[in-house]
Symmetry: C2
Amino acid sequence: MSKSKKKLRIIPLGGLGEIGKNITVFEYGEDIVIVDCGIAFPEDEMMGIDLVLPDITYLKNKRDKIKGIVLTHGHEDHIGALPYALRDINVPVFGTKLTLGLLKNKLEEHRMLGDTNLQTVQLGETIELGVFKVEFIRSSHSIADAAALAIHTPVGIIVHTGDFKIDYTPIEGAPINLARFAELGKKGVLLLMADSTNAEREGYTMSERKVGESFERIFANVPGRAIVATFASNIHRVQQILNVAIRTNRKVALSGRSMINVVNVALELGYLNAPEDIFIDIKDINRYPSERLMIITTGSQGEAMAALSRMAASTHRQVEIVPGDLVVISATPIPGNEKMVSNNVNMLLQKGANVIYESLEDIHVSGHACQEELKLIHRLVQPKFFMPVHGEYKHLRHHALLAQELGMASEDIFIMNIGNVLELDASNAKIAGKVPSGKVFVDGLGVGDVGNIVLRDRKHLAQDGMVIIMITIDKDTGAVITTPDIISRGFIYVRESEELMSEMKNIVKNALSECQGKDWSTIKNNVKKSMSEYLYAKTKRKPMILPIIIEI
Amino acid sequence: MSKSKKKLRIIPLGGLGEIGKNITVFEYGEDIVIVDCGIAFPEDEMMGIDLVLPDITYLKNKRDKIKGIVLTHGHEDHIGALPYALRDINVPVFGTKLTLGLLKNKLEEHRMLGDTNLQTVQLGETIELGVFKVEFIRSSHSIADAAALAIHTPVGIIVHTGDFKIDYTPIEGAPINLARFAELGKKGVLLLMADSTNAEREGYTMSERKVGESFERIFANVPGRAIVATFASNIHRVQQILNVAIRTNRKVALSGRSMINVVNVALELGYLNAPEDIFIDIKDINRYPSERLMIITTGSQGEAMAALSRMAASTHRQVEIVPGDLVVISATPIPGNEKMVSNNVNMLLQKGANVIYESLEDIHVSGHACQEELKLIHRLVQPKFFMPVHGEYKHLRHHALLAQELGMASEDIFIMNIGNVLELDASNAKIAGKVPSGKVFVDGLGVGDVGNIVLRDRKHLAQDGMVIIMITIDKDTGAVITTPDIISRGFIYVRESEELMSEMKNIVKNALSECQGKDWSTIKNNVKKSMSEYLYAKTKRKPMILPIIIEI
């Protein structure tokens, strides 16, 4: 076998040092394969931002080298950026049936389905993309049809777990193909890239069936209406909820756009089983008595506009929460969402509903492997090198420590940042260089036009509002024509502050007289400084100050 | 004994339906006693707000009836609003030594200590305030010198637990005086008001000593510097940390204003024990080798400006985190703070520190009673009526269910909102009426001047920024003089959007020509509407649009 002189370059462009926007580039000579292409949700300080995309500048001039994008599963943080990325790098996309079904929905919404090339891959199948042979291995996660990947390259085999847990008793289909991991490990795996999300947690993640058992107990004797909120993408959870509905002779109405979309895709493609007549339109719920109704809804994370939140806030058009309703929130709040979920719980309780949520019952299990499951994968795969992925720094770090506990040398473990290049050949690996990487903000229809300056301004405006000072100046003489006018928003309620207003006008007048006849820049700076100092001394607040000069 | 024809009125003005700003009014005839007077911390959507005070409009014209304010303990959500409230109702304040010590600090900062009347009460002592006899009962909480109250009134005894847990092995002092609760219960208690914070949690809260045991294990062999973050007000926790420092022969430096203040008060008043020479100034830490250093710091909740957060972000003036540092975050994130704490953990780990936080070790225990402890208090007190307090609706509701489980009738249990009046006589209780209640925002020096309109504007500006359109109009003809000028902030980065800018100017010109000669209000509305529709169609964003007319 010829020894390759080229190196394999692996470049995460998202998903490391963060949870979200997973995307990894595999580059060998003239061939590139991309694994996943997801979005991240905006942090609190990313005001007004809708989505965060990975910065794929590195790929934009390499369109011809990219042989394809391979998807591990259909969650937003793995496929959500494709409608944007495919505009720049329109290459074939490979994934399992459900994954592509969910992607098609998205592309249709962006009106680009017709321009893209999607290729279904079976679990167990291997596809050739240039020098790469990408093998899809059956896995288990909180969404059906999830795959781990074995990427066969000239320098060796890379095993990428994708997002996974080890569920020995999955709701549907065969369990994760541990035997294949073992085979690959025996063959010899160069690098393992594995999911670090739950690396801090001891033990193992419970089987999805556990939730079904809890549901049986909870729904054993429910005299009224049942409303269950969960992640639309967790088809197996939805199946268990449907099973309860079937067993308790209830009709099922869906609420929330993503719930309706995903369930429809899943039914179409055969990932959900239910009698056809079980579903009714949400508009028809009043035709049935409460004990014959089940509503499956979005909003398990307390998202403001999601269906359950609207029910809690009494703004949902069809569903009004009444005493006797049982609401089950079948999810754990993602870090950052705890207060929003709590607000919903409080509002639903106040309406007289009985609310069951994760702190009260086992109605959710994680989709990510805990420490014992991770150790199993490491032992089966026995990689030469290890790169923890899919986690914030603390997760990657804990996963690295776990690998060391199992005997790996720290120099064979690579905790990377996005943009780092890991260079490998058959016997060595090292971090060699960096490429552009980062975030691109989507706000409304705009992609990338909201950057740090705009966000900084929004933050300033949010904190203390703004004060606009209008100054009119004679074009010829440079003299100030009229009394300066002051308008504020988000600063103070003006009607209650007439005194402050008139003092502010004096401040402006004084500042102007100090720089009579000077250039506009000097005038503006002087007015801004005087006003800023005055307002801070008076109110301890720092509104954005915007002097505007109109020349007449 | 004469039967009183008057009723006792109990009016919570804060602390119910929320966690924070606890304050309850007890009113009988011409006498009023107030229990606690705290602040709440702003929610995310209360942009730019520093503190939230309870609205005490109800009390403002009743100054002469108020016999005093009684404090259960020194936490911010029980004493933080006093510097503001005492400006309007300057009445004597009663509390235990440490509680008043912490209050004095605050009043000094607000430069009002000299004008207030603070009276120290011993645990076990009873004070007379008009017809009320208020008995301070030794309790246990996450701050020393905490009291429960037995309020003896003409219609009966009210037991108010304050914030509490049942710790059988407190770090310092005697345990909670369960015998007194039993005695009162035997005498006959009309109403129990009890802490609902942990009413959702089964079992019991661990003793504070448990944390000490964890510390012993963690600090058994620490070769480098130790940095421990915790709540400044938890004196017992600080004592345990000091004990570790003494045992491992370390000097102790304090970081963070509240840590320094509270520890000083506690040392002065004898609530903390440590050899005098153990403390060093933070500026002198470099004089000692790492293994002889312990830094006790604020920032356990990830608060942006707190000491630990500054250390994590490399902006702390004296402390630079280096590999070998052990950082212990001895607190659980309060709901809402999880991401902030997580960010600190990630940054500290990236600097090479070893970080121990609550998900890894038992280094924090709650200060609030769980279900078994609550059941004990209910059984000892055996009240006729019950009002759950100190909790969001879900907490109050769970606590009410717990009382029902113990046999109380639901009509004897009152889940109140702030502003509700509970009217009691010796045999009956009912909710009778409502008084003004709510929130007052503090922003900088302003109290109450930031209301809903200002907050709504800040939120709008934060989401999509603003667009200012300046229109100059001839005073006599009403004709538009110059090309309208457009300035935006927080909307779009203008330099990249010249095309959009010129289209926007056209939109304005057209809108103006449509209403030539009309009144200003019509002109502004037309311009605003046209711009708003145009921008939404073009960008799917809705910046605040501010047309300004300057008449020349």
